[in-house]
Symmetry: C2
Subunit: 253 residues, 2 copies
Amino acid sequence: MKNLKFIISYDGTAYSGFQTQPGGNTIQDKLEDTIFKLTGESVKVISSGRTDAGVHARRQVINFITNSVIPVERWCLALNTRLPKDIVALSAEEAPLTFHSRKSAKRKTYCYAVRVARFPNVFQRKFEFHHYTPLHIEAMREALECLIGEHDFTSFCTVRTDKEIRVRTIYEARIEVEPDAMSDDTKAGSLRVMITGSGFLYNMVRIIVGTLFQIGEGKRDSSDMRRILEACDRSQAGPTAEANGLTLWNVEY
Amino acid sequence: MKNLKFIISYDGTAYSGFQTQPGGNTIQDKLEDTIFKLTGESVKVISSGRTDAGVHARRQVINFITNSVIPVERWCLALNTRLPKDIVALSAEEAPLTFHSRKSAKRKTYCYAVRVARFPNVFQRKFEFHHYTPLHIEAMREALECLIGEHDFTSFCTVRTDKEIRVRTIYEARIEVEPDAMSDDTKAGSLRVMITGSGFLYNMVRIIVGTLFQIGEGKRDSSDMRRILEACDRSQAGPTAEANGLTLWNVEY
């Protein structure tokens, strides 16, 4: 009996999220079906956390228990030749039996990518949100600062249950800006909102980004972010930003 | 009567190339259909050159003659709201009636993108060729040098007609290398073969790249490139590299 740990990447565009669903069109279903075809075993794939429909992963971590005799160094190629082309296993290793992708995770980083330009970049269109009008980046950066540290993030959480503990720690939150060489529009560019935390509530990054957009558009002041955080009230924050811009960037153990 | 010149971008994955075909699934057909819906006019869209099935364009140039009264600054948005999402008009301007996208073009640049790694990058998989094994970049760079200048490129041309003039000038040919931050494989990276010339024969860039791969894999010596060029014989060169890695990068007038 072995506990295998993988780093996987996926383009989430075509899927109903990570977690298994009756319809079956999820990353977990594709992985479990492929492992079944490969080994005849019905395993349960554990991930560092579910990602929503349309959300991507650059380096998601998964693990599962197997009795298969396939050597660990053969697993990635064996999976990749059978998986759909929008899911790729990047590396595999044997982990202690106590390793659990979700429970063992220490830090997770999400990236929300935004293209700011009149028109979308056709090559990145599935992985970045297209924002037509300019954004005030400095105001967005100021707003992000108050999120660093341990807080109750209820204002940035789509409520699923009242009993949930909504305290999380944000270690780092920053905005990277790159000009866009493709466009004649000198104001065109790409933003990456990078947020690293102990864990994230349901829709947390997308609601933070939806609120950041309102600040970047001048509809709210950067100081509103602190007020919204302290209110512990979802209705105070901005809308949930679209899924396609979000990528689970990295998971640390 | 106006001659409108556009810079357009497209993800060529889903199309049978630029040039119109009876089946209709081409970039030209999509553009002409969209212009018809917008203006009621049946125009003929001229491009700087056809691109093959599966080949992309970052900055393709097109023009057409129209009697439409739509102001030039409204055209891009009008087209983009009606075009499929994998074709985007980036800019529009009125050109002299004598302007012809193909005949007026002075220099064209193509980019052939290659991912060198054990596994593909899921986010770039449609726009780069996946090469499983390491490539000897310096040998490939040496081989490219002899192509600079005016030459008969018959060896790098899929023959369509014997009467064709196969002399072209290559102004620049270089390989850009970027390490891949996503992978744990330290040898993983992306290559871009960038070639600028007066014009290109049918499949010319893809045959040059197919030959470069053989040199990079050590199957041929870098000095073979000159011998192949001088032979003026298609059978001496390597295979035609796959379409998905090729992008028409820029056109200069």
